[in-house]
């Protein structure tokens, strides 16, 4: 009973500032301080959102964006982890590859767009390529760093006890690198999501990025705001439902290995 009320109170407290913002927004537009083409009243935005929900255009674009994130994660993460461990195991190669991976990391995201368009033309292939690069290099780099920072002593301990190379990989290196790998995945979703929105503005005709950029061309400010709010809500949900639990679990389970 008390838990229920406490929770309702917490939700209310969290929603209150947003309520104030909407009220302020409504007042500003009501007072005609700015023309509606600059900032439409909240009612108009809500109506546009409802229409976009009804005709399905909002859901299609959400699906397109989320689908791209999901596909690139499913393809790149296992590949990047495998490569990261492969290179991390090679003591001669890894100190050389690490700065190279760091360099490609710095390039990740939108900087690939012009090259992607040259190679794949406008369309889903370009966007997927950009996402793939962003996720791959971030996860690869973090796996590599993670494997390299697992203390050698654990490795030796398993070896002395008669463990095989496979034991070392699966019971020492992967668990030891896990917090770093998860950090990489978390960052790649953050950077990837931003890169995706930017890439969709230029390279495709679906997705949330396209939706807001296209609306901007027609000065449909209400549709832009619907898109922006959707992007924010989607990220909050992803963070709350996927990233935070993932991180909490890996840190609880495998964190502090080096202590």
């Amino acid at each position: 009973m008390r838990g229920w009320r406490g929770r309702a109170l917490a939700v209310g407290r969290g929603a209150a500032p947003f309520g104030l913002i909407v009220i302020a927004w409504a007042l500003v537009t009501r007072a005609s301080v700015v023309p509606p083409i600059f900032l439409p009243p909240p009612g108009d935005v809500a109506r546009t959102a409802w229409e976009m929900l009804k005709d399905g255009s909002l859901l299609i674009n959400i699906g397109a964006s989320l689908g791209r994130v999901l596909v690139s994660l499913v393809v790149s993460v296992p590949l990047a982890v495998a490569f990261g461990i492969f290179v991390g195991l090679r003591r001669r190669l890894s100190p050389v590859v690490e700065p190279i991976a760091g360099f490609f990391n710095a390039l990740s995201g939108i900087a690939w767009l012009p090259l992607a368009v040259t190679w794949f033309g406008l369309g889903w292939a370009s966007v997927t390529f950009i996402m793939f690069n962003t996720v791959f290099f971030l996860v690869f780099y973090n796996t590599l760093v993670g494997v390299r920072t697992v203390p050698r002593i654990f490795d030796h301990a398993v070896r002395t006890l008669g463990g095989s190379r496979r034991h070392v990989i699966f019971q020492v290196l992967i668990p030891g690198a896990m917090p770093s790998i998860v950090t990489g995945i978390r960052m790649s979703i953050g950077f990837g999501w931003r890169a995706l929105i930017a890439a969709e503005m230029i390279a495709t005709s679906t997705g949330l990025g396209f939706l807001i950029f296209n609306a901007s061309n027609f000065h449909q400010t209400d549709a832009i705001l619907v898109g922006i709010i959707t992007i924010g809500l989607l990220w909050l949900l992803t963070d709350r439902l996927v990233l935070q639990p993932l991180e909490r679990r890996t840190i609880e389970r495998w964190g502090l290995v080096s202590s």
Partner: protein
Amino acid sequence: MGRYWEIASTWIIILTAGIAAWSLAAATLPVPAYFLPPPAAVLSGFVELTTKGMLPTYIGESLRRILLAAVIGLFVGVPIGLTLGISRRIADFAYPVLNFFQSVSGIAWLPLMLVWFGFGERTILIAVNYTVFFPVIFNALLGVRSVPQIYVNALRTLGASRWRIVRDVLVPGALPNIAMGVRLGLAYGWRALIAAEILVGANGLGFMIFNAQAFHLTARIMLGMAIIGALWVILDYFLLRPLEEATIARWGMVQR
């Protein structure tokens, strides 16, 4: 000595092999020349654009923008973050709002900013600053909160004023996190800057690579990418990371 030689030789082998494979692919693959220009073309593009003065201008523009964003982020974001960290009441109120605005990346605001501020310098700067702000604010807040309460209590029992506690305990204790926030903020900001320069198209490196795409000047795209990556690596290795490590060495690990 032996180890350095080993690493250096591996470097030389990998670089030579990479460049050789790239040249070979560019020479033999049955694709149009603009698909994969050879490394030599990228190099000559570098020489050409440098002597014409375009490259230094574009690099200067992009660097100016990111440094401006860093300075503004420091002077506005850090005080906000510290205030939120110090006052629980303000933080409880502002946190969900900030969290929501953080979730909408600066680039997602760009279409709206284009309507508000037009195609130009102002839109780019606002979008990049927006991106830099939030990691700075959140990490400053986190930094203040991570200072062990016992230090605050210790100073308070010794009769320190509230201002004294803020100045001598909370702010120094938060410095490692602030350095981390600036580094993360600029990492996001650098990417946002490239994206903004692509979309708004008012010079800078992002504009350079996107514009080159329209003319199929692929060597120029690759050159621009190499510079974008290299600049960030230099900025990160020689400025941001040492800064972070220095603050951690000096003020970090408060909890002994």
